[in-house]
Symmetry: D3
Subunit: 63 residues, 6 copies
């Protein structure tokens, strides 16, 4: 029962489905484990809660 966590931006419902399908398909093909066994957690991260290079991502994106 492998598990995938994705820490990234907010996505539309369609994009979430696309991401879950893509990750599960790839992981199932590479590992040989059936798709039903995979769980994917999409952890939306607000740019005001993420730091990149010592700066708030929200501030970097304004530049």
């Amino acid at each position: 029962m492998p598990t995938i966590f994705f820490y990234g931006p907010s996505l539309t419902r369609e994009k979430k489905i696309e991401l879950i399908r893509g990750f599960t398909k790839t992981a199932s093909e590479v590992t040989g484990i059936r798709e039903q066994a995979f769980v994917v957690y999409l952890q939306e991260t607000d740019p005001g809660q993420v730091g990149v290079g010592g700066e708030l991502l929200a501030d970097r994106q304004k530049k």
Copy 2:
């Protein structure tokens, strides 16, 4: 100072307390470490943010 993360459904306040007590009691008994040392993080996961078997959990639950 062991740490437990639970990724699961939304729970009422009473259920949260019950889960925290149960996890802490079990972990303390099994490891022999005093209950005061345990931290539990309940990470509520929205069915619209979780994929199971390549599908959105929110969609599977409708079936």
Copy 3:
């Protein structure tokens, strides 16, 4: 498909089974989700890789 992570000490095989059973039973009872849906990851953490109160856990345990 809820998921539980446990960051704690090394355990014997018997203790691991006991911990997995206890966590799964508690979580299933509290959430009403069947036991088969739960995944537990035991992440053994070496006292030489953990800090508590600003000190290496390995050093605190010697005191």
Copy 4:
């Protein structure tokens, strides 16, 4: 700078590369973020450290 964690079985070097490429490509296409920004952590999990349905995965696999 999105981040992906994969908790799953041990893989050969070739399979690891394939998994990292696949995850990164999919995530970049879905989010519109350039591939260079993605980090993937492959967390190999020993079947003797994972519980599924209240049992050790190592024991389930023997059945």
Copy 5:
């Protein structure tokens, strides 16, 4: 591309920036890796979702 996760209380925007800067500076100095390579995720945890010593943190804080 090292990654830091912080599970802790809600912070003001200024405090978040201070924490991200401090973590990144320390980690860069200790590891010798350039600051630009570090990602920090601030995971705000509600005291109603955290257990300490078998109790809800929200309840401990009232005592």
Copy 6:
């Protein structure tokens, strides 16, 4: 009881202590929570288990 996870390179014992001290001091100063309450998990990540920009970190480092 805030918790910090660091996913990064292997470090000497001295460097680990330095990192734990630095993270704990910074986090305590910024949050106003006493140092004793902080737990830090150093998760060493092998360059052969990390992907950056779709490539194995181990391969990027050779370039």
